[in-house]
Symmetry: C2
Subunit: 159 residues, 2 copies
Amino acid sequence: MTYSIGEVSNLLDISISTLRYYDKEGLLPLVNRTEGNIRRFNDTDIECLNMIECLKTTGMPLKDIKVFFEWCEIGDDTIDQRYELFLAQKQKTEEKIKELETALKRINYKVEYYRIAKEKGTTSSPDFEEALAMRYLQKKDTQSTEDQTTPAASKSQAV
Amino acid sequence: MTYSIGEVSNLLDISISTLRYYDKEGLLPLVNRTEGNIRRFNDTDIECLNMIECLKTTGMPLKDIKVFFEWCEIGDDTIDQRYELFLAQKQKTEEKIKELETALKRINYKVEYYRIAKEKGTTSSPDFEEALAMRYLQKKDTQSTEDQTTPAASKSQAV
DNA sequence: TATTGACCTAAAGTTAAGTTTATGGGTTAT
DNA sequence: ATAACCCATAAACTTAACTTTAGGTCAATA
């Protein structure tokens, strides 16, 4: 099965110009062309594009993705490099997830903070302060696993 | 307690030029200055910078972060907007984490793939194919929670 | 006193990852 | 057969988030 650039664009939700850009940058080694110079993408190309999306999601820059594909083309001599690449990317991704989870806790605290502020109509009344403190203490007692606050954030009204 | 720009830079691991850039872009409402026009950061400024880092981590562009701080300055009339902002950011962050976890599975599969390739010295022998299949089936049987493969990825040797 | 080091501004430069524009070829529907 | 599409390239443009550069102040130190 082969696909035109427009079909691939719809299939993978990547713009046509981005696909051409990736091809030009050498991220898609050897995309076939018709006699009329029109690209025909095959299943391997689709696989490559899926892998590009995967690596891009985890924050790998296109130039590094390109190097990976070059290693693939070279063959078995580059197995070690490719192993190290994925091992490093695994670590980076795990770290990224942890960072996001830490940030999410702060954000969840803010959602709670502003939910109470909405109820009270202000962020600067004793009533608000108390409701916030109540909510915060209550959660501590009940050992809720989600929506934990970051104590540092609760020190300041400023943000 | 107040801090010079250099101290803040060391404290939060943000470059001096980035701090000046944030200030210029209006992300740090009202940083105090000495008579000699030197910035003195206080604890509220540090709090703001921590919040900037948090929001930046979750992918919020600086212009949106700026809007948030402007809302903070306006006061209680913007509580609803701020609530919605954090609610939206909570959702985006949860989605981002899921995306990363999906990508991580693919990457974990590749780590396994290349670990076996290293052992066998190739990615294209029947021996390698078999070892990979063994490993994959074995994991299915034992219900391992980590390092699951994405079946799509196992279809192609290409990448 | 001269120089070093930390700070300041404004403006230009950089990088990544595309997107847009200008120009043109080939096929299909009215 | 002419308009409407889909495809092609090259080159210029865009955006975000910084970073670098050039030029200047000021305080402490050798």
